[in-house]
């Protein structure tokens, strides 16, 4: 029993430390790479004329169309008037 408790405690400790390290590493990683997100991987920019990877071109209209097609519709959010008043 004592061995089991010690094992569980050790595992919890390792998990906690790993979590802490991962967070700080991920944080450093995010800060170090200014193009880390809003990347070209986003569905918005994975447009049909870019599928073959040859001479890829994206126009503002493509972005607008893709945004319209990919948007989910309803989101969970507050009323705009709670954020800012007209």
């Amino acid at each position: 029993m004592r061995f089991k408790i010690a094992t569980v405690a050790a595992l919890v400790g390792v998990a906690f430390l790993s979590g802490a390290c991962a967070t700080s590493e991920q944080w450093a990683d995010w800060r170090a790479h200014t193009t880390h997100f809003a990347s070209g991987d986003h569905g918005m920019f994975s447009l049909s004329n870019n599928m073959e990877g040859r001479n890829p071109k994206v126009t503002r209209l493509d972005v607008e169309n893709s945004r319209t097609q990919n948007w989910w519709g309803k989101t969970i959010t507050v009323e705009p008037g709670q954020v800012i008043q007209n």
């Binding site: 800060r31 880390h36 070209g40 986003h42 607008e64 969970i76 705009p80």
Partner: protein, 227 residues
Amino acid sequence: MSGRNVVTALAVAIVSMVTLADAGPADYLMPVEKHTTPKGQALAAKYRPQLLQFSDYVYHCLPYLEIRNGLGFKRVPKETADDRYASVWIRAEQAPDPSFAALPIERQASAMFSRYAVPMLSRLSALPGLESDPDVFGFSVAVEWIKPNSDPNRPTMEILAMFADKASTKAFLGKKLAPAEYVQNMKLKFFDGDKEVGRLPIEIWDDNFVGTYKIPGYELEKGKVCS
């Protein structure tokens, strides 16, 4: 078709083309009449060309951002004073990122503020005429993004909204006011989905993403310049 008819048809076609070309960025301005006070309406009318220029810049140069709920001169909710802030609300579209998702919420909000709100403040404050106009109290930026790991069928939006006066914004952008002090003096609220969380301990750091990131293969419309 007579010569006169041809000229008329051409004129109509040209006007239609010009109207279509302007339709995008102009649509993101809040109509003058939607400003709820005469002061707000007057500012919206007076600075329409500058707001259009701003909207055009975001529309063409930062296509991963979308202006929401009308670019205009807004005020702080529930405040009785009619202090008007040049305001933009942007939705940042970004790829899901595990390292971003792993950050504590105040770090996520700080990152979004540093990346998007600061460049918006810089651009807004540079609009000609605003700095010397006594009717413009300050600047406001709201940044919204999809909460990491939220339901893809009905995403939860997170919103960080700030209001700051003109003098402190100018001092901050001119590096004469420490970021921490600027944050301390601004009105700041964070919203998690449909819940108002309130103030978060935001940090601001340098982030050159908006100034340097280019969407691969993005073709700027002819005649547009991003600077």
